[in-house]
């Protein structure tokens, strides 16, 4: 009875081994480190995919395990990206400004540097002062803390209001979509302090680091793999014990859990907040690899995609979420990146860039109707076959 949660669930070790092997293979085959079979831009794509897998694990925790269909977790993902983006952009601009001002005879005053940074970053939205929310942007440790604190705090406040009022089911989903939409609309405004629809850019450049993108892409790839591994372990630990039993109980029969004496709202709030923080971390690793973040990233549709990935991968099992996010987002990159060959039918040519969304929608419907366990359900069939 006294086994650790990993011994009880060997799929965790299998997953971690696969992840380690994958990381090793990509590293060896990359341009920055090894043989050069994999281009730097594809390393970035793979690194970003790992981040999407991590946010999918968070989504599985809140939806697959706790039964709360949040359609707002990509908002937390985006917020994490914005928080790290602020430091990257500020620090890089500061170095450029300092270097430019160093050309003059008199050494620049700190005020000159600050105003130089302000007009460089906010010139596009017609301002030259750093808004108040950039107060911590000079400090990497503070912005790193904000990567988890801002999504966590938003989730805590939003969740407290929603769960306390016993908003459940589809109503909660709609509420989370509304939150996401409100956030996106706010970010689109020029005076939001986050450069409006320009977003934050140049995030692929690490300030003060002279290494090329082939190296930097690998560092972020490794960091993403590590974060996914740790996030997976954390999620597996959370879901393995009594806490996991209780949240699955909440998913299946909320009032039974309540009458057993558990404060259901507190448990929901805990999972909602923890998963928002994981999403923030995933976003903070994703956007430096993407190079740019703008409000369109936080659009409501992104959070819906997240739910689609988890549904296709198989919710209620962590590796299902990873498979769904990895598979669907990579296939999506392939179809929409122009690599997929168009199909000429004579009278009409199927262009995958246009048709991919329809294909995705159809597969979502098909999975929901015919394979509610998703791709992950195939492993159950395999197990059954072997048991025979």
């Amino acid at each position: 009875m006294r086994q650790s949660f990993i011994q009880k669930n060997p799929s965790i070790l299998i997953f971690l081994a696969c992840l380690a092997l994958f990381t090793l293979l990509v590293t060896v085959a990359s341009e920055g480190f090894g043989l050069g079979f994999i281009s730097t831009s594809f390393v970035k794509t793979l690194g970003k995919t790992l981040c999407l897998c991590l946010v999918a694990v968070a989504m599985d925790l809140i939806w697959g395990y706790t039964g709360i269909l949040s359609l707002g977790h990509f908002a937390f993902f985006g917020l994490g990206g914005y928080m790290i983006g602020m430091w990257l952009m500020y620090e890089r601009t500061r170095l450029i400004v300092v270097e430019a001002l160093a050309q003059s005879d008199i050494p620049p005053t700190p005020e000159e540097v600050v105003s130089g940074i302000g007009s460089q970053i906010f010139g596009v939205v017609g301002s030259s002062d750093s808004p108040l929310i950039w107060s911590f942007a000079h400090s990497l440790p503070l912005q790193l803390a904000l990567v988890v604190l801002v999504p966590g705090l938003l989730a805590l406040i939003f969740g407290w209001l929603a769960f306390r009022s016993r908003v459940t089911g589809v109503y909660l989903s709609i509420l989370t979509q509304a939150m996401t939409l409100a956030l996106a609309l706010y970010l689109f405004q020029n005076d939001s302090g986050l450069r409006g629809n320009n977003g934050l850019s140049g995030l692929q450049n690490l300030p003060g680091v002279s290494a090329g993108q082939d190296q930097v892409s690998l560092w972020f790839f490794w960091a993403s793999a590590l974060a996914l591994g740790l996030g997976y372990l954390l999620a597996a630990w959370i879901t393995s014990g009594k806490f996991g039993s209780i949240i699955r109980g909440i998913r299946d029969n909320e009032s039974r859990v309540r009458f057993l004496g558990y404060s259901v709202e507190v448990y929901k709030l805990a999972v909602f907040t923890i998963t928002a923080m994981i999403a923030g971390i995933a976003g903070a690793l994703y956007y430096p690899q993407a190079g740019i973040i703008n409000p369109a990233e936080v659009a409501p549709i992104a959070s819906i995609y997240l739910a689609v990935w988890v549904a296709i991968g198989g919710r209620g099992r962590l590796y299902g979420a990873v498979i769904g996010a990895g598979f669907v987002s990579l296939v999506s990159t392939w179809f929409t990146g122009g690599q997929a060959p168009d199909i000429p039918l004579g009278f009409y040519t199927i262009k995958w860039v246009d048709w991919w969304l329809i294909l995705l929608g159809l597969s979502f419907v098909a999975v929901t109707l015919f394979a509610p366990k998703g791709i992950g359900g195939l492993f159950d069939l395999l197990k059954k076959e072997r048991a025979k």
């Binding site: 014990g241 039993s245 404060s263």
Partner: protein, 249 residues
């Protein structure tokens, strides 16, 4: 009944839904180790009564007083009331179907209900022994590793009663435990409840007269949201008003 020996005292409670008085000036008392059956026709207010005691429904009027310290249950949440010692069994068996019998019992076991405590919880030897002991009492010792969704209807009912016992409540509210059970299953259920009532209060809401007779306890008859008669089964079944509104139909 003297105040000292009262565990739950409901007095003058009324509640209406859209003008319909589901509970009308209801008063009810039960002692700390007592079995009580509540009978009454459909719509008599049996389930609403349970909803009020467990905090699911707030009454418009009246008092619900609990325990030696005479605290009011009306200001407490469902979870707080459950923690104070009120356990409830639903009419339909409600267990966590995709989890094992053992996991179901562990969730129910009386322990710290906070989320951090649950996150860090490791079952102690005492807890594991208690689960084994309870499984023996409800007759599910050899089913502990099965998914509770695979159990028969009767076994699910017992599991839910076992989960209630694991909570160590001082008052057990049981809604139609015998519904859909075979004769042998009913006998087993009766035995579990009678045993439980030796150390705590047990309130059984039941339609089935035969089952109530087996319980061999004081009976409260509800009608239109208030108490119509109270006493032994023979006493209340001899009451002409009870015969009129309930048994005579």
């Amino acid at each position: 009944m003297s105040h000292m020996s009262t565990l739950l005292e409901v007095s003058g409670v009324s509640v209406s839904f859209d003008g319909f008085k589901a509970i009308n000036n209801l008063s009810f008392q039960i002692g700390p180790a007592e079995m009580r059956a509540i009978i009454g026709p459909n719509g008599a207010g049996k389930t609403t009564f349970m909803d009020i005691v467990t905090g699911k429904t707030r009454p418009d009027d009246g008092r619900v007083i609990w325990g030696e310290k005479s605290v009011s249950l009306l200001k407490m949440s469902e979870a707080q009331i459950a923690q104070a010692g009120v356990g409830r069994k639903f009419q339909k068996p409600t267990v966590f179907e995709d989890q094992t019998v053992h996991a179901n019992m562990l969730i129910a076991l009386k322990n710290d209900r906070g989320f951090l405590a649950s996150l860090l919880y490791r079952p102690s030897n005492k807890d594991l022994a208690r689960v084994d002991e309870l499984a023996g009492e409800i007759g599910l010792s050899d089913q502990l590793d099965r998914l509770s969704g695979e159990l028969s209807h009767g076994q699910k009912q017992w599991l839910e009663i076992g989960m209630l016992l694991a909570q160590e409540p001082r008052l057990l509210l049981v809604d139609e435990p015998a519904a859909g059970m075979t004769l042998a299953e009913r006998e087993h259920t009766t035995a579990i409840l009678v045993e439980a009532a030796k150390t705590r209060a047990v309130v059984v809401v039941e339609h089935d007269m035969e089952f109530v007779r087996r319980l061999d306890c004081k009976v409260t008859v509800l009608h239109e949201g208030s108490v119509l008669a109270e006493g032994s089964l023979d006493h209340v079944t001899a009451n002409s008003r009870v015969i009129d509104v309930y048994l005579g139909r």
